[in-house]
Symmetry: C2
Subunit: 240 residues, 2 copies
Amino acid sequence: MSETKIRLYVDQPLGPGQAVRLSPEQTHYLTGVMRLAVGAQVLLFNGQDGEWRAALVETGRRGAIAVCDQLTRPLAMPPDLWLIFAPIKKARTDFIVEKAVELGVRRILPVQTRHTNSERIRQDRLQAHAVEAAEQCGATWVPEVAELQPLDKLLAPWPADRRLYWCDEAAAGAPAHITGDPGASAILIGPEGGFAETEAKRLRAMPGVTPLSLGPRILRADTAAVAAITLWQAACGDWR
Amino acid sequence: MSETKIRLYVDQPLGPGQAVRLSPEQTHYLTGVMRLAVGAQVLLFNGQDGEWRAALVETGRRGAIAVCDQLTRPLAMPPDLWLIFAPIKKARTDFIVEKAVELGVRRILPVQTRHTNSERIRQDRLQAHAVEAAEQCGATWVPEVAELQPLDKLLAPWPADRRLYWCDEAAAGAPAHITGDPGASAILIGPEGGFAETEAKRLRAMPGVTPLSLGPRILRADTAAVAAITLWQAACGDWR
């Protein structure tokens, strides 16, 4: 790590000479924790305008002000891949969100299945987690974390032009590869208890669904999410 | 999960009619936590004789006794893949070990690099973690977790017949695929601070080393470990 420049996500426009007011939390982090002073440089991104180098020009308690100087990286959106998963224990759900951002997905959709244990999620907390992961992994874009919704509802009007890779423990004989370029895609990871038979039946009957095998051992949901995104990214995403 | 039979690793021979004394901890788990009584069935494996169904015949405090009844799965060793990684924070190191067992590797080798933060590991704790992961993921074999050793020492007599996939953040232009069947392999994941230039130079000069790209974003070491094992398993391991 030759350069340890701090990256911050901001919800404001970025551009040449643009002044940006950072939040009190970001200001505390920069000045209190990292001991930066006026003149120090940070990197800012907002998910739209790429990554900008900016210099601190004011560090008051109401929020530091940074002025954009130079575009350091253009916006690079991840490929059009959604991750759909049934929330599990808090730490592992956080982990799934973090990993999905690092590996590169465009949307993260928590769903409730028949066998999902967790009945609610803190969407705002997970979204903040996604922002933090983006700050750390060098992404210039932050995937949206959707509110929890029933799987049935998400599938009801499933878009015909989006391939759904279904990681099913029971899908023996399914390929462990993604071939060709499916275009817009989604990966569906089941809950720890597996899919209910009614859910499996419905998925098997849907036209755009491809089962994906993830080996002979039983993967935890968080492992399965990372493995499936990896296979997709290497086959047809931005890892190529 | 139609069947929620408990799987336990034991360090004793298994075979038809074989009586096995379980540890006090396992006994407490079975009788105290899971409320099993004499007659209940469990699954046992020892990394050599496959998985056996066994019935509890005694549940005394000194350790329950289970008698093997039937072979439920033959031994299935994971393919000859080693995971080499620089330990990071405790929770993430635990995670790497857990995931490596689920995904399927034969050995787990923590190494000290120039930029490794963590100077010691609890090998016994990590090995216990590997056992637990094997119990939960249905593996019949438990990868050995080696003691921490310097990377230089591990590479000094690197076996000529083992391909080394080197996941290097700086390896721009390297393929994001593993092609062909390399046979015996190892995956090397760097520390969070990256490899030192002397280390990178040495790796670049070694004959059996192949750089592996894991996409345009910066992956944490634990994400990189899961992604790299996934690519190897899907290309030439037991996921095919």
